[in-house]
């Protein structure tokens, strides 16, 4: 098997040798490992943890780089804007659909339908961007921040504002966390989602103040109920101009009195509160822990978290600093951390489309699929977001994942008919013609096994496996299974659910 040779790299031997030396030498090893080229397995690992799927060509290109070079290349090529044109209505002047009191049932239903259809277009558009973007890390991070600075269009009820928030999260996805926090606090969708629009001096609404501390910065247990009340007062008057869909500070509703937050007193403004929270060491640790669970393993190493969080905070919250530190760490490349993270529904679906270079029509059917698998974009279940990890997989979602994969690699005529029947999914099923449209779009979905397999060194299942699985399969593939048959078996394997 001459072609398999380029998938083997001699570093493993060195690694085993060196891993027996004591902790004192760890730094030495890190330097050594950092200076050596990644090799294909580490390259695949890096690319898959930071994108949706890696092609053999990308793996080969990154295999020649050191850890530092690979991280640099990855971070240097990220975009801040999408390549896919957003639906036309996102660029129209803001329109807050308010109905007169005397509106008829038909008018109300028409408005609801319009909102749902726009919501679906928005989901399809984002999934398409994830499918085609040359900067998948940007989309992965945008999704990460969507699950951090959570808002849901089921409450905001304005696809236009949800799109604006999405653009903000993408612009800062690999930018500055502090700047993003200040912008998010003024983001109209967020102001509506966490009820700050109705946070007034006479009766503060604590929703935003609580979540900004519990979820966005410090984490639970690092502030008191009194801090929540004081912070809520500082955010009084932070509202939205519904005619223009823009942030509006209502000075008359703002409490100008003295507030005390985390030991700091004064006539604090909302921005003062955010600055106080950013100055607290827990904030950087909290964010790094979350990034660790997204990129490295389900169990953050407290010592490493502190080290990386300190760098992150010292940099003034440059997200690339935190990512670079994580993506060059020994923990990131440690063998014990391979295949330990569960792919989110979006990673599974977009990853499969990208990995196997499916040709597709509009992405509507996949908007239904990810919802069925538990990840309805723009509508996380609550302000804490999707819990993720093992929680993605229960008996119901595991079967739905396997059914999706089975359908994708079935013979075409069988595959096409089924998804519409499965689309009885809360929130978006009610859209008229949605099922038909999705079924039509599904008919355009094509996998060309011959073309795809031509990129794999040999048709042997082991080579297919090294491209698409993060570890050896749970069920060994029989040696006679090659090509498409190997693809079918390996995508049904439990390990395909992991990254």
């Amino acid at each position: 098997m001459p072609k398999r040779a380029r998938y083997r790299w001699p570093r493993h031997r060195h690694q085993r040798l060196i891993s027996v030396v004591t902790a004192l030498a760890t730094g030495l090893w890190a330097a050594a490992a950092g200076a050596a080229p990644l090799g294909p397995d580490d390259a695949r690992h890096l690319l898959n943890r930071t994108s949706f799927a890696a092609s053999p060509a990308e793996i080969e290109a990154y295999a020649r780089l050191t850890r530092e070079e690979a991280a640099s290349r990855l971070l240097a090529t990220t975009r801040t804007t999408p390549v896919t044109p957003a639906p036309a209505w996102t660029a129209e002047p803001f329109h807050w659909p308010r109905l007169p009191r005397e509106a008829t049932v038909q008018e109300r239903q028409a408005l609801q339908r319009e909102r749902r259809e726009k919501g679906l277009e928005l989901r399809s558009w984002w999934l398409e961007e994830m499918r085609v973007t040359p900067s998948p890390l940007t989309e992965r991070m945008t999704l990460f921040w969507h699950n951090h600075f959570v808002s849901s269009d089921q409450k905001v009820r304005s696809p236009q504002l949800m799109h604006r928030q999405n653009a903000l999260l993408r612009r800062q996805a690999l930018g500055n966390f502090g700047a993003m926090l200040h912008e998010v606090a003024r983001d109209p969708a967020m102001v509506i989602y966490l009820d700050n629009a109705s946070n007034r001096k006479a009766q503060p609404n604590e929703n935003f103040a609580r979540e900004v501390m519990e979820l966005f910065t410090l984490g639970e247990g690092h502030y008191s109920e009194q801090d929540v009340k004081e912070a809520a007062r500082a955010f009084t008057g932070w509202s939205v101009d519904l005619d223009r869909g823009e942030f509006l500070f209502r000075a008359l509703q703002h409490d100008e009195g003295v507030k005390t937050l985390l030991g700091r007193s004064g006539n604090l403004t909302g921005d003062d509160v955010l600055r106080t929270l950013l100055a607290h060491p827990r904030t950087a640790e909290h964010i790094v822990e979350k990034l660790w669970r997204e990129l490295v393993s389900p169990t953050p190493d407290p010592v490493e978290v502190k080290r990386i969080a300190a760098r992150f905070r010292d940099s003034g919250y440059e997200i690339q600093v935190a990512l670079r530190a994580l993506l060059t760490s020994n923990a990131f490349y440690a063998q014990v951390n391979r295949a330990t993270l569960v792919k989110s529904p979006v990673e599974l679906v977009v990853g499969t489309l990208r990995q196997f270079r499916f040709s597709t029509g509009e992405m509507l059917p996949f908007a239904f699929t990810v919802t069925q698998l538990g990840q309805n974009l723009f509508a996380p279940p609550n302000v804490k977001g999707w819990p993720g990890g093992d929680a993605w997989i229960n008996s119901s979602t595991l079967l739905a994942r396997k059914q999706f994969l089975e359908r994708m690699f079935r013979d075409d005529d069988v595959r096409l008919a089924t998804p519409a029947a499965q689309m009885n999914t809360k929130g978006i099923a009610a859209v008229e013609n949605g099922r038909e449209r999705a079924a039509r779009a599904m008919a355009e979905v094509r996998f060309n096994p011959r073309e795809w397999l031509a990129e794999i060194p040999t048709r042997h299942s082991e080579n297919v496996q090294r491209v698409i699985l993060a570890a050896a399969p749970a069920q060994p593939v029989p040696p006679e299974a090659e090509g498409l048959k190997a693809v079918r078996l390996l995508t049904q394997d439990a390990v395909y659910q992991l990254k």
Partner: protein, 385 residues
């Protein structure tokens, strides 16, 4: 084979894997008595569910949201139900509906996630436990091996109180579809602790549950065409398959009413009442009404004083319902004391939620509640033997 022989036979290595589930199955646990939990997600406003209409403070705290006295469905001289709960009144009059007022816990946490975690794990306010309270109950007293599962969660959300490494739990949306799809589950396998082992376990649970379930049951009962109505229909289907489960959990979403509460809560409570009545109908059809206990719960109630958005903020204790053919209907706990609110303007609790759990464990299943609750809580006298 007695316990000692069994241990000898399987040998030391096998013990840890097998013992918790099979060897010491408590014969005493009566899992023929079914528990159906109804989670009111987001934190239902207890004060506008069971309204203390005789309290002047109530109307002072709720100038806009207070429910007019003539709208209230009177239960006793102090309390009455929200008008949307009219469908529950025949249950109340038939003494099959218990109303437990003031359910909560000391040092209440006002975060959705933390507070539901406290309810799910039956922890103290300041402790973190990995498993759900039912997970712990099943770990010490598993349901019979012949059962399809210890518990079934309807819908895709987390396992909540059923979480636990020794619990066999299934989440499904439709039993029929579940049986058809189950062939896709892999055969499971051995793995280090972590994500892969989690997947293997889910696969093994799917195989066991699917092998026990039979096809769809046709009910004469009409189920409301609402998400909750569909969840109740699924729960009824699971009961009808006679697959054997000890717990079914359903949920109703949307109670986090920070603004515009009146209309939202009226709709949700109507969905709840209609769904519960349909559930009773289906349980009577399947002959299970007298062996089923239905209990509602939520992470918290809401703050007595309404906010300026026509809504209510996160609160503490709340009123909940327990219903079933063997429930001793009536009022339990204590009516909210609105004249004595805490520093956050919230209510004190009258009944610890773990007393409700102790009631279920002890009086419904005949278990020693100690294993699941790790302390003694006085059971409520609300079920007949």
């Amino acid at each position: 084979m007695n316990k000692r022989d069994f241990l000898k036979t399987v040998g030391a290595a096998g013990v840890t894997a097998i013992v918790p589930r099979a060897a010491f199955a408590a014969a005493s646990a009566d899992y023929g008595n079914l528990l159906i939990l109804v989670e009111l997600k987001g934190g239902n406003d207890g004060l506008n569910t069971v309204v203390p209409y005789a309290s002047p403070e109530y109307y002072a705290l709720r100038p806009r949201l207070g429910i007019a006295r003539d709208q209230i469905l009177q239960l006793d001289a102090k309390s009455g139900l929200h008008p949307s709960l009219q469908p529950l009144m025949p249950l109340w009059e038939g003494r099959e509906l218990a109303v437990v007022q003031g359910l909560g816990y000391p040092n209440a946490n006002l975060s959705h996630f933390r507070s539901i975690e406290i309810w799910d794990t039956a922890s103290h306010s300041n402790e973190y436990l990995p498993d759900g309270w039912l997970g712990r109950a099943f770990a010490s007293s598993p349901a019979p091996r012949s059962y399809a599962a210890d518990g079934v969660v309807v819908g895709g959300a987390g396992l909540g109180p059923l979480a636990g490494s020794a619990t066999r739990s299934i989440a499904l949306s439709n039993p029929d579809q579940f049986i058809k799809q189950a062939r896709l589950a892999g055969p499971g396998g051995q793995a280090q602790p972590g994500a892969l082992r989690h997947i293997f376990r889910v696969e093994a649970d799917i195989a066991q549950a699917a092998s026990n379930m039979t096809g769809e049951h046709v009910f004469a009962t009409a189920f409301p065409n609402t998400p909750f109505g569909n969840a109740v229909r699924t729960a009824a289907q699971v009961v009808a398959t006679k697959a054997g489960v000890a717990v079914i959990k359903v949920s109703l979403n949307g109670f986090d009413t920070h603004s515009g509460q009146a209309a939202t809560q009226a709709r949700l409570l109507k969905d709840l009442a209609d769904g519960l009545v349909a559930l009773k109908g289906a349980l009577i059809e399947t002959g299970r009404w007298h062996s089923t206990l239905v209990a509602t719960y939520a992470e918290f109630g809401r703050r007595p004083r309404e906010n300026q958005s026509g809504g209510t903020d996160h609160g503490t204790s709340s009123a909940h319902f327990v219903l079933g053919g063997r429930v001793i209907g009536g009022m339990y706990g204590e009516a909210p004391v609105l004249a004595q609110l805490d520093g956050n303007g919230n209510l004190a609790h009258a009944v610890d939620f773990r007393q409700l759990y102790a009631t279920i464990l002890q009086r419904w299943w005949g278990l020693d509640p100690q294993a699941a609750l790790r302390a003694r809580y006085a059971a409520l006298p609300l079920v007949r033997a």
